[in-house]
Amino acid sequence: MMKNKVLFYVLSVLLVFHFSMKFIYQFSDYSSLGKAYLYSYNYLVPQFHFNYKVFAPEPPTAKEHFVYRAIFKDDSKSKWFEDGSTLLLEAKQNRFSAVYKKWKIVNFLGFQTNQIYVQLLKNPSIQHLRKEKIMEVAKQQIIHYPQYKNACNYALINLENRGLIEIKGVQVAYLRDEVELPLASKNNFEAQLFPVKYLDE
């Protein structure tokens, strides 16, 4: 009986510990809890990684598109291509299929690249520069990031699959079209054009 009691209390402590770690991981960050957050991170990631916010605190408020185009050897440019809409249409025909996930990957290429770019723009060490200069520095840096390379890689493969030839480089862009509330007058549209990636680089 004593053995059972000990086991009961040990498991209770473990349960409380596990969910306390989850609570800290979900509701705090390094700046607010420091080491406690790091402990929770190391305990939970990757085997218990999670983000349970589900459209919170704010739901998505913009239509997002990842687009790409080819730069040809004669310096002309192809039209912009977008795969997301076709994939979404396909996914809507069968809500149980995995096409929705496929769309998510494509969209994520643009989303992630944009996220890195926004972080680079906020780099404290370049904030004293002019706005144009900050953007120039961010664009010089983003080409070294795997997220950008991945997006360009996707663009190149898909441009070649579309039968385009004589390609010298590719350019990717991310568009955000904010949803307007009824009676609202402003419409925010944001297009982020990333640097051209040349194939011989």
């Binding site: 349960l15 589900v54 995995a98 969209n107």
Partner: protein
């Protein structure tokens, strides 16, 4: 009998454990089955999902082994293993060992596509860990395993309640949800909507406001209501309607199905027993039909 005695000596949920495990394994068969046509896209070397970055912890290297190109190349083997293990699990072969292997294999496959995973998938593999520890043998007298099993089922229930708690209360901290505009926004974005829904909410804005508040109300109350016998099944029934609707209307089918799968953890022993009995009746009827055809 005190609570401690009950939890440490009686397996309070043999039927529920048995049923929950099977339902989760069937869901995983469906989940990985539908990924098969696009498997290379998600798991292959040419996948566009960015690999994670190592931080020097060897355990993480194992879990995230799809970061190594030569292992990623062997993804079909992992898929075959996953399906094989799931079938073994369904037939009840060594539940804990097979359960642990399923947890490991699922985790490795999922980490290969972690960038595009949603809250539903995350709660599923968090629960898979506890699923390993569930005891489903009726003649098990080992109090050690009985106690662990009772705690593991409780952990799965808390996990589900925790998800609703986080999702509900975090919404209360946002401006858009409190203003009642959230459903309108979501309905106007192609990826989370349908043409008819977009149009309906545009014309009847109030429906969006009502639905936004219903979502908040449901998510905030679920973590509390689910522990009361009188409310539990009512909330679960609302949950079925809620998740199926957002599955079809907003496209979040994965998430909905996983939540519904995990609702089985809240089933009472008697209800789980009835479901199992129903399944065994179907099985025996099937056997009779087969033997009649044989004659």
């Amino acid at each position: 009998m005190t609570v401690i005695e009950r939890v440490t000596t009686l397996n309070l949920s043999i039927n529920t454990n048995w049923l929950l495990r099977r339902v989760v394994y069937i869901f995983l068969l469906f989940y990985f089955g539908r990924l098969l046509p696009y498997a290379d896209y998600f798991f292959g070397e040419t996948s566009f999902i960015n690999p994670n970055f190592f931080d020097g912890n060897i355990l993480k290297w194992v879990v995230q082994s799809f970061n190594f190109p030569m292992i990623r190349e062997a993804y079909p083997l992992f898929l075959i293993l996953e399906f094989g293990l799931l079938f073994l699990g369904l037939f009840g072969f060594s539940p804990k060992v097979i359960g642990f292997l399923i947890y490991g294999c699922t985790l490795i496959l999922q980490q290969g596509m972690i960038g595009v995973s949603n809250a539903g998938e995350q709660i599923l593999y968090n629960s898979l860990f506890f699923l390993v520890l569930l005891e489903e043998r009726p003649n098990q007298n080992n109090t050690f395993w009985i106690t662990i099993s009772n705690f593991a089922l409780l952990a799965i229930k808390i996990e589900v309640a925790f998800l609703y708690f986080v999702a509900g209360f975090t919404k209360l901290t946002g401006d858009i949800w409190l203003a009642g505009d959230a459903f309108y926004y979501v309905s106007q974005i192609n990826e989370y909507s349908s043409d008819w829904l977009k149009e309906l909410i545009q014309k009847q804005y109030w429906i969006g406001v009502v639905l936004s508040y219903i979502v908040i109300c449901y998510q905030v109350t679920f973590p509390f209501a689910i522990w009361f016998q009188k409310l539990k099944y009512k909330w679960m029934l609302i949950g079925v309607v809620f998740h199926i609707s957002i599955g079809f209307m907003n496209g979040l089918m994965d998430f909905g199905l996983i939540m519904l799968t995990l609702y089985f953890a809240f089933y009472d022993e008697s209800k789980s027993g009835k479901v199992i009995q129903f399944l065994s009746e179907i099985k025996s009827a099937g056997n009779k039909i087969i033997s009649a055809k044989g004659d």
